[in-house]
């Protein structure tokens, strides 16, 4: 198996099953209180408080509920979930079982992206071992009346399926087109039943939280962004890989850690994230400042930022589900604009129009993909006008 560099992860120090054991002692309300107290927010990037999500799902009146683990890690620059599933899948399955106990769901589904099919065999084997051990199935973990099992479902190469309602559509056998929210999956999810969708990393952290306590988790991070977070670092730095760092860390601090101090810019949050220029490296990576699912791409002094904008827009054009107009038509138009800039054929007036179009795409798209699809373009235009405008060389 191809491994990435990752050192000193908390996950490596966690005793298997300890969090789950304590969770079952705490009971439904106790688990939700512990998760809420920890302040943990969704590690996939959207940052919804997990405790609130579970509380809503637990309150929904329906005997059939689902726990879905979102392992459709498709954000460019993100690979932390691959590492977690390769090495610490046990913590993820434990987190799913804790979620099941919290909301009273008999069934869990791990939605694994098609690109990670090579992980499936090992994950199935781990699930089987858990079943053989009595941790999954009827009267799971030796608790009478607690039934929970996990099934793996595969994606088929669609980035948008990382959006929770698109993921559910895909599970149901439809095109991966996001739904309007509300209703939220916690009320109307998979096959119409209440469904808690959590990111791989969130579930793994929740196992740790139940094990070590919410106070331990709160010791790290900031008031609004509690805890530790895994960062997937790539691009122009000496030591790319997965890093565990507290939220609230500044871009500068992170760059020093990964050997990327001479960077001219950093893309935080992948194609749907923002490009942070050197002048803003004192900003914090946290939900209240620069939010992220953990993707950090470092750009060295020699990088052409227009290449970056173009690559991300090409990505969005291909991955847009095509359902709503702003995203479907807006992004190709922005991409054409990048071509014009590249050829030095874009007037300042038209560039303004493009920025305005990008902002329209942000506010008028239906789902998270559309709403964030112009982020990279807009932030690059904002911070790198000098290198982007008035080009004289035809690069193509």
């Amino acid at each position: 198996m191809i491994t990435s560099t990752c050192k000193n992860l908390t996950f490596a120090t966690i005793e298997a099953g300890a969090g789950l054991k304590r969770a079952l002692e705490l009971g439904q309300a106790g688990i939700i209180r512990e998760v809420t107290d920890s302040g943990i927010k969704g590690r996939g990037g959207a940052g919804f408080p997990s405790g609130v999500k579970w509380n809503l799902c637990a309150a929904a009146k329906d005997p059939q509920k689902y726990i879905v683990c979102n392992a459709d890690e498709g954000e460019p620059g993100t690979f932390k979930d691959r590492i977690i599933l390769t090495t610490y899948a046990g913590l993820v399955f434990e987190g799913m079982t804790i979620a099941a106990a919290a909301v009273n769901a008999p069934k869990g589904i791990l939605y694994l992206r098609g690109e990670y099919t090579y992980l499936r065999e090992q994950l199935e084997a781990e699930l089987q071992a858990l079943r053989d051990d009595g941790k999954l199935g009827e009267n799971a973990c030796g608790k009478k009346g607690f039934t929970f099992d996990i099934e793996i479902r595969m994606g088929s190469g669609a980035y948008v399926c990382g959006e929770e309602t698109a993921l559910i559509e895909s599970l149901e056998g439809h095109r991966g087109e996001p739904r309007n929210r509300p209703p939220y999956p916690v009320n109307t999810g998979f096959d119409g039943h209440p469904t808690a969708v959590n990111n791989v990393e969130t579930l793994a952290w929740i196992s740790c939280i139940l094990n070590k306590g919410s106070d331990w988790f709160r010791q790290h991070g900031t008031e609004k962004s509690t805890g530790l977070k895994l960062f997937s670092v790539s691009g122009d730095c000496d030591m790319p890989g997965v890093y565990e760092l507290p939220l609230g860390i500044t871009v500068d601090q992170l760059l020093a850690e990964v050997g990327g101090s001479n960077a001219k810019a950093v893309q935080i949050g992948g194609a749907s994230g923002r490009c942070v220029p050197g002048s803003q490296f004192d900003r914090k990576i946290a939900y209240e400042d620069i939010p992220t699912g953990g993707s950090v791409i470092v750009f060295g002094p020699g990088r052409d930022m227009l290449d970056v904008a173009q690559n991300f827009l090409e990505f969005m054009v291909e991955e847009s589900c095509g359902q709503c107009t702003p995203c479907r038509y807006g992004n190709p138009t922005l991409l054409e604009g990048v071509e014009m800039l590249r050829n030095g054929r874009c007037s300042a007036g038209y560039l303004k129009e493009l920025v305005s179009l990008g902002e329209s795409v942000q506010i008028s798209s239906k789902c998270g993909l559309g709403q964030s699809s112009a982020n990279a373009f807009l932030s690059i235009i904002e911070h790198f006008k000098e290198e982007i405008m008035g080009r004289t060389v035809d690069a193509v």
Binding site: E115, S156, N311, E318
Partner: protein, 171 residues
């Protein structure tokens, strides 16, 4: 002994897949994924039979197949080579690997070799951003690929066919 047509064989296979996954709509993706894996495509006949078995309109199935980049109407090669084209692999010089793949296979991206053995495609981010350029050959991942390594990767696939094989082999 009776001779089975290919369609009869496919129908039998689909029936057993439906027996395994059920007739609910949510069984559609796993069924389609199996068909794609075994037959390297999902043709009109398969679409019709699946629709009949799940009691939905074939257009529903067609629409799902058209949406996902890993599901195809047209036959794919026995080996699908997917080179990551997203930023980090791009920054790691994936263009040179792309050129070499194209040269060594004798096809452009988006094409399948005439013998049906290889399909060459781009993929969006495959989660190997710290080890680019990266590519998938079916489900197997290769990282830090250099133009030099391309030949070796392709040759290791070719060995599966044997010296005189004219037909892509079953799994």
């Amino acid at each position: 002994m009776t001779l089975m047509t290919q369609q009869e064989r496919l129908r039998g296979e689909l029936e057993s897949l439906v027996a395994q996954y059920g007739t609910a709509r949510n069984a559609l993706m796993p069924i389609l994924q199996e068909v794609q894996r075994k037959y390297y495509r999902i043709d009109d006949y398969a679409i019709q039979v699946i629709a009949d078995l799940l009691d939905i309109h074939p257009v529903e199935v067609h629409s799902v197949v058209s949406f996902y980049s890993f599901l195809d109407f047209k036959p794919k090669g026995r080996f699908v080579v997917r080179l990551c084209q997203t930023l980090c692999c791009e920054m790691a010089d994936k263009d040179r690997v792309a050129r070499q793949l194209s040269n060594d296979l004798g096809i452009e991206f988006g094409q399948t070799t005439p013998d049906g053995k290889f399909t060459l495609e781009y993929a969006n981010c495959i989660g190997m951003c710290d080890q680019g350029p990266a590519l998938l050959v079916n489900d197997k991942v290769h990282t830090r690929v250099t133009p030099e390594m391309v030949n070796q990767i392709i040759e290791s696939c070719r060995q599966v066919f044997g010296l005189h094989a004219t037909q892509p082999m079953e799994h």
